[in-house]
């Protein structure tokens, strides 16, 4: 079956532009996560949705970052007035329902954002 997909795969933006990054999770997966992976670093948590509810946005680095999942499936991560420090790979992951404890998160290929 289809995995997690993300688009675009690559995005180049001029500083100050707004960008929107899309994530299509695995069909039926309740949980959705966004991560930011800077060059040479491990992914860092940004935000978490359960269905359409954003339950945790503690990792969003500033109020320029905004995520939504209005119908509980596709999610969009929006970055306003992009800055050079926003350059990174943005990863989306989804997870289905399961038993208590940590269940596997399935990751998409990421969107590489370069801000010039």
């Amino acid at each position: 079956g289809a995995g997690v997909s993300q688009s675009p795969r690559y995005k180049v933006a001029k500083r100050g532009q707004d960008v929107a990054l899309r994530c299509d999770p695995i069909s039926g997966h309740v949980s959705l996560f966004w991560y930011q992976q800077a060059l040479g670093q491990g992914p860092e948590f940004l935000t978490y949705f359960q269905n359409e509810a954003q339950l945790d946005k503690s990792g969003l680095p500033s109020d320029r970052f905004f995520a939504e999942r209005p119908e509980g499936s596709v999610s969009t991560l929006k970055i306003q007035r992009t800055q050079q420090e926003d350059s990174a790979v943005y990863l989306c992951a989804s997870r289905g329902l399961g038993l208590a404890g940590h269940n596997e998160q399935f990751f998409g290929p990421g969107t590489r954002l370069t801000v010039l």
């Binding site: 040479g40 860092e44 978490y48 404890g101 940590h102």
Partner: protein, 112 residues
């Protein structure tokens, strides 16, 4: 804060020789620990996970990891490296019911 430390940023092995990627975690009552692999231009893939059922965890592609509480370690091993194993490997800690904290990664190179 609960975290993981990957002791090597880059490991290079010859094809057919053993692989050892080292990871230490900060102490906790009952950690959930994972290893993920990231091939270029591909998504992160789960190799294996430890959730206290057994200290020796077997994963995909011949990888395994041993949880050692006395050493707070969760090292990843494979008896014989293949060229296709060349990738970035992340040791990951679970916190709460959904939070994942990633190490900085170890890049594995396999020399033919």
């Amino acid at each position: 804060a609960q975290s993981v430390t990957q002791l090597d940023s880059h490991v290079s092995v010859s094809e057919g020789t053993p692989v050892l990627l080292r990871c230490n975690y900060s102490s906790s009552y009952s950690p959930s620990l994972f290893w993920y692999v990231q091939h270029p231009n591909k998504g992160l893939q789960l190799l294996l996970k430890y959730t206290s059922a057994a200290t020796l965890v077997k994963g995909i592609n011949g990888f395994e990891a041993e949880f050692k509480k006395s050493e707070t370690s969760f090292h990843l091993t494979k008896p014989s490296a293949h060229m296709s194993d060349a990738a970035e490997y992340f040791c990951v800690r679970g916190a709460g019911s959904y939070q994942l904290t990633f190490g900085k990664g170890t890049k594995l190179s396999v020399i033919p």
